[in-house]
Amino acid sequence: MVKLKSAGAAVPLNRSKKMTDSNLLLIITVVIFVVMYAGAMIFLKKGFLKPQTFFNIMNANAALIITSCGMSLVMITGGIDISVGGVVALVSMCCAVYLDYQGGNVFVSLLIAVGIGLAFGAVQGYLVAYLDIQPFIVSLAGMFFARGMTTIVHTAPFNVENEAFVALKGTRINVPGMGTVNKLGKYVNAYVEIGVIVAILVVIILFCVLKWTKAGRNFYAVGGNRQSALMLGINVKQTRFLAHLLCGLLAGIGGYVYFLHVGSGSASHASGMEMNAIASSIIGGTLLTGGVGNIFGTFVGVLSLSTIQNIVSSIGLDQAWWTGITVAAMLCVFLIIQSVILSRKH
């Protein structure tokens, strides 16, 4: 009886120990997001009371959610990929050029997007995993290469007028029960774009994969301690390669979703997206050192980041520079929190 009791006491102790890293960061993020959004609802009113404002944030950031998921994946294995913004720009430019000049169909353009993403992921993954080059250097080169290629493909920004594509871009999925009555007394449905559905699917699939599959757990093992992962018989190189490949694939899909949202090709598209993706992952509780992270946290991280940007612009600080400064400040704060948590652990 006594023994049983002590065993029972040990279990919650273990649980509370588990709380420290990932979950603590995740809880901080969720709380900050809820407080921020509630605060905006109470003090700013304006749009924040309408559910559509929330859906608009989702619509605008579906691509960011997808690319951030890929980024988290790489960061969990202890790497980083700053080429995602460039890949997104390259994907939208290539798809735009294909759809407009070749009169091609939408399905092939999707294949192009996935192909570009996979190509970047495979090359960078090979260099990082098998040749053991620093991920940052590799993806920095990848970023500049993608940005340069974008202008080589086409220099001037332009809108796509392909009919099938425009129809797809305009597709709206109504969310039941979330609509509002407008000034004329008409009921306006709340809607999301296709990209949001894709983003949510990606989040759910990756969450399940990371949580309950062997391959998913391998990512954490490799990121946590490469040496012991190797000792456990995990194929470290393959796992790191896979992470970069998936990140590239998700950047390709994210690029297509981005393209679907903006409907144009431009060399300046998605500038700074890699930064936002890294910031979202970090805010969502993914540790830069690897081994710790949560896709759901990344999702909340994107939402927090975009909500703060919305708040900043709705209190009138809408000059372009404030967005950059707030994102950087937020990232800085979360990085320091992480660093403090890590140093306490050691």
């Binding site: 260099l127 080589i152 520079w321 400064i325 990232l331 800085c332």
Partner: protein, 360 residues
């Protein structure tokens, strides 16, 4: 006997190969030969008069000397940061924008008519202080909070240009004073571009500092093994932090040159992608990007080689937006060649060849 001799000879060649400065020199020769073969007029230097009637040298080589000096100055700081922290600072372009913005703000003020409100030296010193503060900020994140250098500097990389625009309230002040243009152009009567002299001054100061202080030794020690250098009585936190502050100083000099060239500033374009050039210069100089041993002169030579490449590409009508793609290809090529896995394979292949030759 003969075998021994050939081994010794090949050892000599290998030594040359192993010398750090070999890589940038080889790259320079390669680029030079390429240009010589395609169009020898690349090397023509002519003496003409500029719009003010002073004699100036013109030609592609002078352009390289001129613009390469910016990268060379940054390469000094970047080499130290790389050696000490094992990472690179990617915020230098954004910090150049901040430094330039500070200089213009102090020189012209808001809504001024372009006449100088303060001496140039005061503006420059203020820019030095500001960019050293930003360097110190990066340094604190890296050294004290132990955040990877590239991620820590990513913060300024995003926010920097915004901060630069904010300093001047998004106005574009124009300096009308002639003296201000000397720093990025020519001093009357001297036909060589001023940035080159600024680079030489920076290099001399750095070399003196390395010779008469233990900075170089300590930086290498910290870069090779931070914890063992701490056990030997060094302060790795301070050394890492110091390297970022020194880079801040280099950034201020480049900010002065950049704003002087235009007499104004364009926040989103000034010093764009210069971080790539600076990192490339360090890599081309044969310095390990993961920290440790370094060679400043090799980095500086690397910087001029980068500019040589850029100018060559410009000459073939590559647009400035497409340049990064080519440079990225060069970076990848460089890191792949210097990757340990590839090196091993290459040396194994070399040994095999040697054996075959001996058998033959």
């Amino acid at each position: 006997m003969t075998v021994k001799k050939s081994a010794a000879a090949s050892g000599g060649v290998a030594d040359l190969f192993r010398k750090q400065i070999f890589i940038p020199i080889a790259a320079l020769l390669l680029l030079g030969l390429f240009n010589l073969a395609v169009d020898p007029s690349f090397f023509k230097i002519s003496l003409g008069n500029n719009s003010d009637g002073f004699p100036v040298l013109t030609g592609y080589l002078i352009t390289i000397l001129d613009y390469g000096s910016e990268v060379a100055i940054l390469a000094i700081g970047m080499t130290l940061v790389t050696a000490a922290s094992g990472g690179q600072d990617i915020s230098v372009g954004a910090t150049v924008a901040i430094a330039g913005s500070v200089i213009l703000r102090i020189l012209v003020g808001t809504g001024g008519d372009g006449t100088l409100q303060a001496p140039i030296i005061v503006a420059f010193l203020a820019a030095c202080v500001v960019s050293m503060l930003f360097g110190a900020f990066n340094g604190v994140l890296v050294a004290i909070f132990k955040i990877q250098p590239m991620v820590a500097t990513l913060i300024l990389y995003t926010a920097g240009r915004s901060i630069a625009a904010w300093i001047n309230n998004n106005e574009l002040p124009i300096v009308t004073d002639k003296v201000f243009t000397y720093f990025g152009g020519f001093i009357p009567g001297i036909p060589v571009p001023t940035p080159f002299f600024l680079a030489v001054i920076c290099v001399i100061i750095t070399l003196l500092a390395l010779k008469f202080t233990n900075l170089g030794l300590y930086t290498q020690a910290v870069g090779i093994n931070a914890s063992s250098s701490r056990l030997n009585g060094l302060n790795p936190v301070f050394i890492k932090w110091l390297s970022f502050v020194i880079l801040g100083l280099c950034v201020a000099v480049v900010g002065l040159i950049k704003t002087s060239r235009l007499s104004t500033i364009n926040y989103s374009v000034i010093a764009k992608d210069i971080e790539m050039d600076a990192i490339l210069a360090v890599a081309l100089g044969g310095n390990a990007l993961s920290g440790g041993k370094f060679n400043i002169m090799a980095s500086i030579l690397g910087a001029y080689v980068i500019q040589f490449l850029t100018t060559t590409l410009y000459k073939f009508n590559v647009s400035s937006d497409a340049l990064p793609a080519y440079k990225a290809a060069v970076v990848i090529l460089l890191v792949v060649i210097s990757a340990p896995a590839v090196k091993e394979k290459l040396s194994a292949m070399g040994k095999k060849l040697k054996k075959q030759r001996e058998v033959a």
